[in-house]
């Protein structure tokens, strides 16, 4: 099949275009049924299905930072270039915030690159509605329940169609704590219930140490890292979907209860006073400086804490404890897949095969293995190597209790804006949890 395809690649790519242009995307063209996505990079060159002609693909991503996953993905991109001299990938890299601005401006001007990194859920939906991204269901079929469990593909599905293959998984909630400070407060182990957690906060406060360092200037920390998991403890993981469909309300007591946790923690003086004027870099600094007993952020922070924390300090990892009376799974963590690459709907048909080949190469078993080796969690079912670092093993055990949705990936951007600002208002005491909840409910109705 592969050989045949190589021979008639041109014909097939034209056929593919025809099929795609009439919207028949769900069934494969037959060219990919035997193409295992877990190709080793070494056969990437031999299994080429790219047209003989040189093509140039433009590709935008945010992988110019120092995060470990970025290094792996960039390496893969350059390997792809080496092995496919006839395909030139022209890359433009930007930091996260700038990237999103540029992507939106370019989408509005209908000038997106051939391929671009997209965020799942709420951010992807308007792009799909605006006909800017190409469904890749046939490509996804190669992965589905083989390399990637279908549950890990759904973040990038809109109305049943797949638009990207995820490359990494992040959990947005993790408690990083100083074992020695907690021991001083009388805790050799992290509290198991919310009530005990609150007691611990009070005891740490009595030591003259800030219990939780929080930098919420960017507004997403309380929403993404706190309420996405804490809310889930109260409501269970299907609440957001039900609330959006009207089956449930944001004013329901379980949701208000989640917001109320933030209020209670604020009232207990769990956070530093300047929580709304410092950012997440600074809350990490407060922790590193020993000014705080813990901080809450996603799994991505682990590398930074380990690097910056003086060697004589003992780092502990935990997740938010069970909340008494909560309807959710007390082990679940808010998490989301990411760094998937989408294809421009208006891509030149002659380039499409090359783009698909690129995605196959990028999201391959080899990539996921290399990401694991860098202590990054991946959406694929690859075996954890026996020599995995303790950090990775601990991360995997802490994050294996189930996945809860991240609010900003599910809520519409308008609702996200309201809850972001609402959480800040709660910490300032200018709004009550009930008021924020009714604001959300009112905005949802619009």
């Amino acid at each position: 099949m592969k050989r045949a395809h190589t021979v008639i690649s041109k014909a097939v790519s034209i056929m593919l275009v025809l099929i795609l242009s009439i919207g028949l995307t769900a069934c494969g063209s037959g060219s990919n049924s035997s193409n295992e996505p877990e190709n080793k990079p070494s056969n990437g060159g031999t299994t080429t299905e790219a047209p003989a002609k040189n093509v140039e693909l433009t590709f935008w991503n945010i992988w110019n930072g120092s995060d470990a996953y970025m290094g792996v993905l960039n390496d893969k991109v350059s390997e792809f270039q080496k092995e496919n001299p006839n395909i030139k990938v022209k890359i433009e890299q930007m930091p996260h915030d700038q990237y999103k601005l540029k992507l939106k401006a370019s989408a509005a001007g209908r000038q997106l690159p051939d391929m671009f990194v997209v965020w799942p859920g709420a951010e992807l939906k308007p792009m799909v509605d605006g006909n800017t991204v190409l469904p890749i269901d046939d490509l996804a079929a190669e992965y589905k329940d083989k390399l990637i469990p279908s549950a890990n593909l759904i973040d990038y599905q809109i109305d049943g169609k797949q638009y990207a293959i995820p490359n990494i998984v992040v959990y947005t909630h993790m408690i990083y704590y100083d074992k020695d400070i907690l021991a001083q407060a009388g805790y050799s182990e992290f509290p198991k219930t919310y009530t005990e957690f609150k007691e611990m906060v009070v005891k740490v406060r009595e030591l003259g140490v800030t219990p939780i360092a929080l930098g919420n200037k960017g507004q997403w920390v309380l929403q993404s890292c706190y309420i996405s998991t804490i809310g889930d403890r109260m409501t269970g993981s299907d609440f957001l979907v039900k609330a959006m469909s009207g089956e449930k309300k944001f004013t329901d007591p379980e949701f208000v209860g989640g917001l109320n946790v933030i209020k209670e923690l604020t009232d207990l003086k769990a956070f530093n006073e300047d929580l709304n004027t410092i950012d997440n870099n600074q809350h990490l600094d407060y922790f590193v400086q020993g000014k705080a007993a813990m901080f809450v952020e996603g799994t991505w922070s682990l590398g930074g804490v380990q690097e910056k924390l003086p060697k004589d300090r003992n780092l502990g990892l935990a997740i938010f404890p069970a909340v008494e009376g909560g309807a959710g799974n007390p082990q679940a963590l808010s998490g989301v897949t990411g760094q998937g690459v989408a294809i421009n709907k208006d891509i030149d048909p002659a380039k499409l095969d090359a783009a698909r080949q690129f995605i196959r190469f990028l999201s391959s078993e080899d990539t996921y293995n290399r990401l694991l080796a860098k202590d990054q969690l991946v959406p694929a079912t690859v075996t954890v190597p026996s020599d995995a670092s303790d950090t990775l093993k601990q991360l995997i055990s802490l994050t294996s209790g189930g996945v809860a949705p991240v609010y900003d990936a599910v809520l519409t951007p308008q609702l996200t804006e309201i809850i972001n600002n609402g959480l800040q208002s709660i910490t300032m005491g200018t709004k009550s949890p009930e008021e924020v909840a009714s604001e959300l409910e009112a905005a949802k109705a619009k």
């Binding site: 601005l101 939106k104 509605d129 605006g130 919420n216 960017g218 300047d274 600002n421 300032m428």
Partner: protein, 291 residues
């Protein structure tokens, strides 16, 4: 003037290059943007015409009104802060004071510094727990005056305005220094010879002489304040909870974070209209004083 009638073509030749570039790359884009304000558009899908709906919604939008109010704070602080301070420094630094060149350069520096650095350093100054201001207040026993400067809705806007004043004094300093070059040297020297009382007298003589430039500065202040964006965006991003939101930031967030492109355009129309209104009022008031 008699030159003119003979040189009509020359006048148009002189103005048209600017006029063409400016029309094509400034006015047409803004015209298109204003046109979006009559549409319901998320920036991705096909826009639909909705008439004045965006403006009707804007009139009822509390966040918009509070951001407009914050803009007015910035405006007042800029006009009443930047201009007098800059004028004072310009008069001092226009003289043959030893080290004037150094002070002029230093006075101008804040305009040139990256907003990232300004934000970082002023956040350190304002920080409620470890900040310079609160540390000083506590050191002299004025603990009750210590506040959460950027985090408290009562103080946040004031703190932001103070930083903005500081940032742009240098700009008006430069403008006033240039204006003072048209003031006869004898008038300025009088200030140095007579000392303080002389200084006050000179100011009374000089101000009318550079009144035109003061008017220019006020108008620059108004237009600058109403579209102020960079510093607040980096320093607070309008937070906490919209406390320091200004119209340009609200417009930016609506357009590029909430996918409400049409609504964002309506906000920029509002910025334009409010600026125009205030500038015509200000120039009328100030021109009257000139006459």
């Amino acid at each position: 003037m008699h030159l003119l009638n003979r040189n009509k073509w020359l006048i148009w030749l002189g103005i048209s290059p600017s006029l063409i570039v400016y029309t094509l790359f400034c006015m047409i884009p803004i015209g298109i943007s204003f046109y979006y304000s009559f549409q319901n558009w998320d920036g991705f899908s096909d826009p639909s015409f909705i008439g004045l709906d965006n403006f009707a919604a804007l009139m009822k939008d509390q966040v918009f009104w509070s951001s407009l109010k914050n803009n007015m704070f910035v405006l007042l602080a800029s006009v009443l802060g930047q201009i007098p301070i800059a004028l004072l420094f310009a008069l001092l630094l226009n003289s043959k004071l030893r080290g004037a060149k150094f002070f002029r350069t230093v006075g101008f520096l804040p305009v040139a510094i990256s907003t990232v650095i300004i934000s970082l350093t002023w956040n350190m100054i304002y920080n409620t727990q470890y900040g310079l201001i609160n540390t000083l207040l506590k050191a002299v026993g004025l603990d009750h005056l210590a506040h959460n400067w950027l985090g408290d809705p009562k103080w946040a806007m004031l703190a932001v305005c103070l930083t903005i004043i500081w940032q742009y004094v240098g700009l008006y300093l430069v403008i006033f220094l240039a204006a003072l070059q048209n003031v006869p040297a004898e008038t300025l020297e009088a200030a140095e010879i007579d000392g303080a009382t002389g200084f006050v007298k000179t100011v009374k003589i000089i101000i009318p002489m550079i009144w035109g430039t003061i008017l220019v500065s006020v108008i620059l202040c108004i237009s600058g304040s109403l579209k102020t964006f960079d510093l607040i965006y980096v320093m607070t991003n309008g937070g906490p909870a919209h406390t320091t939101d200004v119209m340009a930031i609200y417009m930016f967030n609506k357009t590029f974070s909430s996918f409400q492109y049409g609504y964002g355009s309506a906000i920029s129309v509002a910025i334009f209209v409010v600026s125009l209104l205030l500038i015509s009022v200000a120039s009328r008031l100030l021109k009257a004083k000139e006459d």
